[in-house]
């Protein structure tokens, strides 16, 4: 459904997308993962014919984005990072306008608007001026706009950014429900968003493709090493951070200790374990033995930076013949 080959995009001197190739099958939900500035948005803008590539080619639904942009645009629904809304219009007006732009007419248009409103749960705000909607509603109106012409391909740029947790869950469910009929490519820099929704993950960093893998494989690779957050305090309020760190580093199974926070005699460490080793039991024992107060001990939420470090490291290792 989507075929990208050797795609590059250069803005002046900076190379935003560097020789990326991937393919997405019909009906798949693909997560496009990368930190800010990785080239996610640029790639999506190329796929939606907003920007032309500097080199390489991209095909969407069998049409080339450079040679037949109108055909591609007819088949793609696009939700940019900021929903492209006109604050002066009401929702009904807005969807009518977008529907007409996408080539829908009268009866069909009305049916599609009804359908999109229902799917995105915005039927109750159809008469409300867009500028008065909350962020969550705006995002959903943006999504309704993207699916209004029932496109074969949906390109969603950070569909959950700026939403509160409840809205994030709702949006995810919505996207999941759209799968099957549509091929979806969505970008995010938040790992859980991908976990919940996507079957296939494309990781890019600094414009380069890091890995394409199924979610399961990727998660397995990520679970190599455990990471925990440990907060401790001295019993008499006279704990020395450097001393504590030294002792923690000696605990068996620990590969790295970093001080994250220090406040009024209490310290928070982030501790990375060696692959395949469990940390909590051993750490708990050491803390108690040292007579420190244990304030908290929990698995750390993995942020994307680490995922990337690990992924890029893993790529190098497999590249040089090593296996873990």
């Amino acid at each position: 459904m989507i075929k990208v080959e050797g795609l590059s995009k250069r803005y002046g001197r900076t190379l935003a997308v560097d020789n990326i190739s991937f393919e997405v099958q019909k009906g798949q939900i693909v997560g496009f993962l990368g930190p800010n500035g990785a080239g996610k948005t640029t790639t999506m803008r190329i796929l939606t014919c907003f920007l032309p590539p500097t080199s390489g080619s991209a095909q969407v639904a069998g049409y080339d984005v450079v040679d037949q942009p109108l055909e591609v645009k007819k088949r793609v629904g696009y939700l940019p990072e900021n929903p492209p809304l006109y604050p002066e219009q009401d929702v009904e007006d807005y969807l009518t306008f977008v529907g007409k732009l996408k080539g829908l007419r009268s009866a069909e248009l009305q049916a599609r608007i009804d359908d999109a409103c229902e799917r995105c749960a915005i039927a109750d705000v159809r008469g409300v001026i867009v500028g008065k909607l909350s962020k969550g509603y705006r995002q959903r109106v943006g999504l309704a706009q993207a699916i209004i012409h029932n496109p074969e391909v949906l390109v969603l740029d950070e569909p959950t950014s700026g939403l509160d947790p409840k809205q994030i869950i709702e949006t995810r469910t919505l996207i999941k429900n759209l799968a099957g009929e549509h091929t979806i490519i969505l970008s995010t820099h938040i790992l859980p968003a991908v976990e919940q929704v996507c079957e296939q993950v494309i990781v890019i960093n600094k414009g380069k493709l890091v890995t394409i893998d199924s979610l399961q494989n990727l998660m397995q690779r990520l679970q190599g090493a455990e990471m925990v957050v440990l907060e401790i305090a001295g019993s008499d309020g006279t704990l020395d951070a450097a001393e504590a760190q030294r002792r923690l580093e000696l605990v068996s199974g620990v590969s790295r200790v970093a001080l994250r926070e220090a406040a009024q005699g209490s310290f928070t460490f982030e501790i990375l374990g060696q692959p395949g080793r469990s940390l909590s039991t051993e750490l708990g024992r050491v803390v108690l033995a040292a007579g420190w107060q244990l304030r908290q001990l929990r698995p750390a939420a993995r942020n994307l930076e680490e995922v990337f470090l690990e992924l890029t490291k893993a790529e190098k290792e497999t590249g040089s013949g090593g296996d873990k």
Binding site: Y11, R45, T48, C49, F50, L51, P52, L70, E71, K73, K74, V76, Y78, P80, E81, N82, P83, P84, L85, Y86, P87, E88, Q89, D93, F97, V98, K100, L101, K102, G103, Q145
Partner: protein, 255 residues
């Protein structure tokens, strides 16, 4: 074609739900109403004067009232076009809706024409407000309507030409105020360029005078429909919209 219509309607709707259209309509009504009152008052007092002196010169409403008023509207036009055209593309770029337009199955030209026609329609409705005043003259006298019609055609052409420039300027920035300022600068220059012709007859002065949009309006105000002035305006509109199209295309490359 249908896309042009769709975009035209959206543009007009946005003008008329925002204060822009109402401000401009009110502004035109007040300013032009003032000009109209002054012009007719002068006409009446002159008439009385000549009656008292017993000379009874024939006085023509078209020449004494309507022609200077048409020139006045033409100048008001210079002030209102930047306010109409500033948002055309700058607003879409700022709010990100340009991504919607440029990723929809619509040609750039359709977007440009829809927007330009929307702006022109608002401008025409301002002309309509001024025409109400002139309409009053028909209650009290028998002005010739044909020169008025020609005058308004000229105003529409002049407006179309300045709005095309404004549209072009608006593609170059995300900031509506900057777009308005630069458009206003250009409008003003295109107005005053003509002045050099009053003391200089060299080729450069003739060129400057030629590109001045107001030079070409004067014949219209007199009720003279000259194909070379019509052609000037049409060329200008074409050039403005062409530059807009190129600039919009280059957005894709620069982004």
């Amino acid at each position: 074609m249908r896309n042009i219509w769709t975009i035209w309607r959206k543009e007009l709707k946005i003008y008329f739900v925002s204060p822009i259209a109402y401000h401009l309509l009110a502004f035109t009504a007040v300013v032009f109403g003032f000009f109209f009152t002054v012009a007719t008052a002068i006409f009446v007092s002159r008439g009385m004067q000549s009656m008292r002196m017993g000379t009874m010169m024939p006085m023509d409403v078209n020449e004494w009232v309507i022609r200077p008023l048409l020139m006045n509207i033409s100048v008001i036009g210079l002030f209102v076009t930047p306010m109409i055209s500033m948002r055309l593309f700058a607003e879409e770029k700022f709010s990100g809706t340009i991504e919607l337009l440029m990723t929809s199955p619509v040609r750039d030209l359709e977007v440009i024409l829809g927007k330009w026609l929307g702006a022109l329609t608002l401008y025409a409705s301002l002309l309509g407000v001024s025409a109400i005043n002139l309409g009053l003259l028909f209650f009290y006298g028998q002005p010739d309507w044909k020169p008025i019609l020609v005058g308004y055609l000229g105003l529409l052409l002049q407006g179309g030409c300045l709005l095309a420039i404004g549209a072009f300027i608006s593609t170059m920035t995300r900031n509506q105020i900057v777009a308005a300022l630069i458009t206003f600068d250009l409008c003003l220059l295109l107005w005053v360029f003509d002045w050099v012709s009053s003391y200089e007859t060299a080729a450069w002065a003739r060129v400057m005078s030629y590109i001045s949009v107001l030079t070409h309006f004067e014949p219209f105000a007199k009720g003279v429909l000259d194909s070379k002035d019509v052609l000037f305006y049409l060329t200008f509109i074409f050039l403005g919209l062409f530059l807009t199209a190129r600039s919009l295309e280059s957005l894709r490359w620069r982004a």
